[in-house]
């Protein structure tokens, strides 16, 4: 089964890297959308359904935390699992983001297999 994923990050280089890493990991994508911040992500979600959202925290405007709040407050979007990708590996931050509704958390730096495993866990993909 192939999945539709949205990557929200203000760094074009990071969006490109995440997309390539997912593909290299063998995780099947049928569509991959990109957004430069939370507002763009929310706008895109009005017209495109995705299976999972991968989001940075520090973004201009609507940042990752606010994106999680708005997703949680939206009846149509709250069930889309969001995974945070961040350099911040501190316990407090991870706990905070999970409390806001993140279903997963991947700390940079990460290996392709780590990202794939978190996507599969979050989406409930059976192990091979």
């Amino acid at each position: 089964m192939a999945y539709r994923v949205l990557i929200a990050d203000d760094s074009p280089a990071m969006r490109s890297f995440v997309r390539r890493t997912i593909e290299l990991s063998g995780f099947e994508l049928s569509a991959c959308f990109e957004a430069g911040d939370g507002a763009q992500a929310l706008a895109l979600l009005r017209s495109e359904w995705v299976d999972a959202i991968l989001t940075d925290i520090n973004m201009p405007g609507v940042d990752g935390e606010e994106l999680l709040r708005r997703l949680a407050a939206d009846d149509l979007l709250r069930n889309i699992p969001a995974i945070v990708i961040s350099t911040d590996a501190t316990e407090n931050r991870i706990a905070r983001l999970l409390a806001l509704g993140a279903r997963g958390y991947v700390t940079k730096p990460f290996r392709p297999e780590t990202l794939r495993a978190e996507l599969e866990r979050t989406l409930g993909v059976p192990c091979d």
């Binding site: 520090n58 940042d63 911040d88 316990e91 931050r93 730096p109």
Partner: protein, 159 residues
């Protein structure tokens, strides 16, 4: 926090980021390059306990190679903006990895990294803790200054 602890965190973070995200094995600690070497310097501020500044200076050939590896493109086809974006992301990841090692139970906030257009001939104030590694295409120097008040307030939390 002792200098050896911070240096160990710098070395560990650099090796981890280069290997995991750039598929590059650091070739060991080396001396800082002479001031006339062509380099790119990135800087970011962070808030936490304590706050401070992080600098990264990378030889231009190393920056190009690392950007190409990160983006999966040929080094010759990269635009200057792509190299800049990856350099900033590299600085962001190394700084975050260092702080996560030093403050695993605290919370910190990283400012937006930016390129220092006219870097000083040398990175240091002497009180900064620094670490230089050979990448195979030039050196990468990182330095961190804790509890500083010299960072510009406008640099902080721009993203």
């Amino acid at each position: 926090m002792t200098e050896p602890t911070i240096r160990e965190a710098l070395a560990s973070a650099v090796a981890d980021v280069l290997e995991s995200m750039f598929f590059l094995e650091a070739l060991g600690e080396t001396a800082e390059p002479p001031p006339e070497t062509t380099t790119v310097t990135a800087r970011l501020s962070f808030d936490g306990d304590p706050p401070g500044c992080f600098h990264m200076r990378i030889a231009s050939p190393a920056a190009n190679t690392i950007a190409a590896d990160f983006l999966g493109e040929d080094a010759g086809s990269l635009t200057p903006q792509q190299t800049t974006d990856v350099t900033l992301e590299l600085a962001n990841m190394i700084c975050g990895a260092v702080l996560s090692r030093l403050e695993s139970s605290a919370t910190f906030r990283l400012g937006a990294p930016h390129i220092v257009e006219a870097p000083p001939a040398q990175l240091p104030p002497e009180e900064e803790t620094r670490y230089t590694v050979e990448t195979g295409n030039g050196t990468l120097t990182v330095s961190i200054q804790m509890e500083t008040r010299t960072c510009l307030a406008t640099e902080k939390f721009a993203s």
